[in-house]
């Protein structure tokens, strides 16, 4: 059975290879091949899953050793896979959602002449992501880690002719590289500490070394997670990443890749558990990000960027949960899965809206779309309810548990973290309601827009909103099902908890206030948030042009000035640095050499003048030389 594991990766990898190398001949059928292979991967996953269910909880982990990858004296890296419950969860999420999005993309990318390549990239992403979650050692995980980064780069920049897309892609890769640096340092630390970087030996040996080393490793892992999962301070790339086609945003930048950081932390639980200081930092990062993302999400008028803020914020929840240690791991993953459903659904919905609106992304140019695209409206609406944590829907279960666990951290920290999580829930409700209202309700501002634009002489085609084709709506419907039922399914009878417990371990947290009170509070803030949003965007018309807004709003629109900081300090500073180095290289390093050459040349020119053509001066030179030689010889004797 374990031999199937490699096939999970091999199927999409094959797809990527065939589609990218295959050439024009595959232009007409390539997308189907890609989808099929993705589906095959999902099928293999299901087979493995049913097989796993048939075993005892402790014996479910499978292991496959493919070949020895880098055998160097004192350093062994293998290409080997490990499929346990945690990996299985991800495999199903990735291949499942991935397949849906493949299907969706068939319709979404129909008119793009480079569709074959798009599917190639998607397959490449699936392969890399599966490798990431299936690797049995950190180095191989690193390969998957960078692989998804590459796929993300390629897909964000898919429309390369747009400079903004190319820039965004590069930015995403670069920011991720900073995180990757953390991961590689972490691996190097593991190697020097444990002599290996395979999951098993490392995680078992955490007791054998000091907390300092472990804290260092954990912090480096966190840096990596921050990069990949767009956590503060490495979050800046995610908003720009929305330049990519919307299915990409749904799959990579919402459901799967960005959650890799959470996977990494949960996978390395044993290290974090032994490094409480690092765990504290993890929770802080999570808490800060969940507020940051939420605030940014409130201010964005671009529907995808608003959703991106939301993604950041939701992953903040997961990181927060993961930072809580064994009381939070399971919930982090559970929220990850449910989030995968509803966020993917939301993005697909957004894509569907854009598809019907001439690729317009500004929500201020939407409005009242519910009657034109009913399926989109319903599925989007269900996703919306799930994300804000409407009782009974997926998000409610998973988020509630995280808030509970945050309180259960205990002490002041617990209170602070819990309150932040609650506040985040309120803001989530606010901004998601805002998105919902601006898009599907209210007056049809896009009609007015046409008049304004023609008045201003702008080239604006009035959109004809329409529902998307089946290939797009069916995935949305399936995801909506997930958004609605997954949470309940997981939570009732603690199914998910029992499933994952053998891998991540679990402790029951004991919040200082009763679980019921937490739930009550969650629901209360939810209502508050929704109400506030309705007051601002539902009751009165939305201006077609964004008002100036408060200082906070303006800052939030610019990602809380984080980009400006990056620009001024890193980009400008870097430019100055490189420019001055280029100058120095020329004038100083090269100049020293050229200067030496020039001074020898100058010396030559001066010595040359001694050769003045007069015999008598030559004779003087000889006479002087003779005198010198005689004197020196005599002097030698004297000395």
């Amino acid at each position: 059975m374990e031999n199937l594991i490699a096939l999970l990766i091999a199927a999409p990898l094959l797809g990527a290879a065939v589609l990218l190398c295959g050439g024009r001949a595959l232009d007409r059928t390539g997308h189907l091949l890609g989808t099929l292979l993705s589906l095959a991967s999902f099928a293999f996953g299901l087979v493995l899953f049913t097989d796993m269910l048939g075993k005892d909880a402790e014996e479910r982990a499978l292991h496959q050793h493919l070949f020895s990858w880098i055998p160097v004296e004192g350093f062994q890296a293998d290409v080997a896979f490990q499929l346990d419950q945690l990996s299985m969860t991800f495999v199903l999420l990735i291949s499942g959602v991935g397949t849906l999005i493949h299907i969706y993309s068939i319709g979404y990318m129909e008119h793009d002449e480079r569709r074959r390549r798009f599917f190639g990239y998607l397959n490449l992403f699936l392969a890399a992501m599966l490798l990431l979650v299936l690797a049995d050692n950190y180095l191989l995980l690193y390969v998957g880690w960078e692989g998804v980064g590459l796929a993300s780069y390629l897909l964000i920049g898919f429309w390369q002719h747009k400079p903004s897309a190319a820039t965004a892609a590069k930015k995403a890769f670069l920011v991720n590289r900073v995180g990757d640096m953390g991961l590689s340092i972490a691996i190097m630390l593991m190697f020097t500490t444990f002599g290996t970087f395979a999951f098993g030996p490392v995680l078992e040996a955490t007791g054998d070394t000091g907390e300092g080393k472990l804290t260092a490793i954990a912090l480096m892992l966190l840096l990596a997670a921050c990069g990949k999962s767009a956590q503060v301070p490495l979050q800046s790339w995610l908003g720009d990443a929305m330049e990519g086609p919307t299915p990409v945003s749904a799959l990579i930048h919402a459901a799967t890749m960005v959650t890799a950081g959470v996977y990494l932390i949960v996978r390395s639980g044993a290290i974090f558990n032994a490094a409480p200081d690092a765990q504290l930092v993890v929770t802080i990062v999570g808490a800060v990000t969940l507020l940051f993302g939420a605030i940014v999400g409130c201010a964005k008028d671009d529907i995808k960027k608003a959703l991106a803020g939301s993604t950041m914020s939701q992953i903040g929840y997961m990181v927060l949960a993961a930072g809580l240690g064994p009381i939070g791991y399971v919930f982090a993953i559970m929220h990850l899965v449910t989030h995968g459903f509803f966020k993917a659904g939301l993005f697909l919905g957004a894509g569907s809206v854009m598809h019907g609106m001439n690729d317009e992304v500004d929500m201020r140019r939407y409005g009242g779309l519910r009657k034109y695209m009913p399926v989109t409206f319903v599925t989007f609406g269900l996703g919306y309810l799930a994300i804000i944590g409407f009782p009974g829907l997926s998000g409610f279960f998973s988020k509630d548990k995280i808030i509970e666990a945050a309180f259960a951290k205990g002490g002041t920290e617990g209170w602070i973290l819990g309150s932040v999580a609650l506040l985040g829930a309120a803001i989530t409700a606010f901004y998601m309601t805002r998105v919902m209202l601006m898009t599907f309700f209210g007056e049809e501002r896009w009609r007015k827009q046409a008049a304004i634009a023609s008045g201003a002489g702008e080239d604006y085609q009035e959109p004809h909103p329409h529902e998307s084709p089946k290939s797009m709506t069916i995935p949305m419907i399936i995801l909506a099902f997930g958004s609605v039922f997954a949470g309940g399914f997981f939570s009732i009878g603690d199914r998910f908890l029992h499933w994952l417990e053998p891998v991540t371990a679990h402790e029951h947290g004991h919040p200082p206030i009763s679980a019921g009170a937490v739930t009550g509070a969650t629901v209360a803030v939810l209502v508050l948030g929704v109400a506030a949003a309705w007051l601002m965007y539902g009751r009165r018309p939305v201006p077609a042009v964004a008002p100036r807004g408060s200082l906070l709003t303006r800052a939030a629109r610019r990602d809380l000035l984080q980009d400006d900081f990056n620009h001024v300090v890193l980009v400008r500073g870097g430019e100055h640095l490189t420019r001055s180095l280029v100058y120095l290289d020329h004038s100083l390093v090269d100049g020293a050499v050229n200067g030496t050459a020039a001074s020898v040349g100058g010396l030559s020119g001066r010595l040359r003048r001694l050769q003045n053509g007069y015999v008598r001066s030559y004779a003087v030179s000889m006479f002087g030389g003779a005198a010198l030689i005689v004197a020196a010889t005599l002097l030698m004797r004297a000395v």
Partner: protein, 99 residues
């Protein structure tokens, strides 16, 4: 008379000759200074010959004279041809090649 004094004289003549080479412009005079130096050497040879009581030095002096004569032949030929081309025997005028 102490033969060493002849040596001093030889050294003096040699120095006078050398100085002449360094300061005189006329090629002929310069060449004569060189001859003076050769003759200073001759004096030294003869003096040493006397000092050591063997005849080697005196014989060498004869050879030197022959060599000097040969040099005169060659030297004058060159200097005369230079003079005829340039109408000047100044060595300072002959400085086409330099640097």
């Amino acid at each position: 008379m102490n033969p060493v004094n002849y040596l001093y004289l030889a050294a003096l003549l040699f120095s006078i000759g050398a100085t002449g080479v360094l300061i005189r412009r006329n090629a002929i005079v310069v060449f004569m200074c060189v001859e003076l130096m050769l003759n200073a050497c001759n004096l030294a040879f003869v003096a040493f010959s006397r000092l050591h009581g063997n005849l080697d030095g005196q014989i060498i002096a004869f050879f030197t004279m022959v060599v000097a004569a040969a040099e005169v032949v060659v030297g004058l030929a060159i200097i005369v041809s230079l003079f005829r081309s340039r109408h000047s025997a100044s060595v300072d005028d002959a400085s086409l090649m330099k640097l």
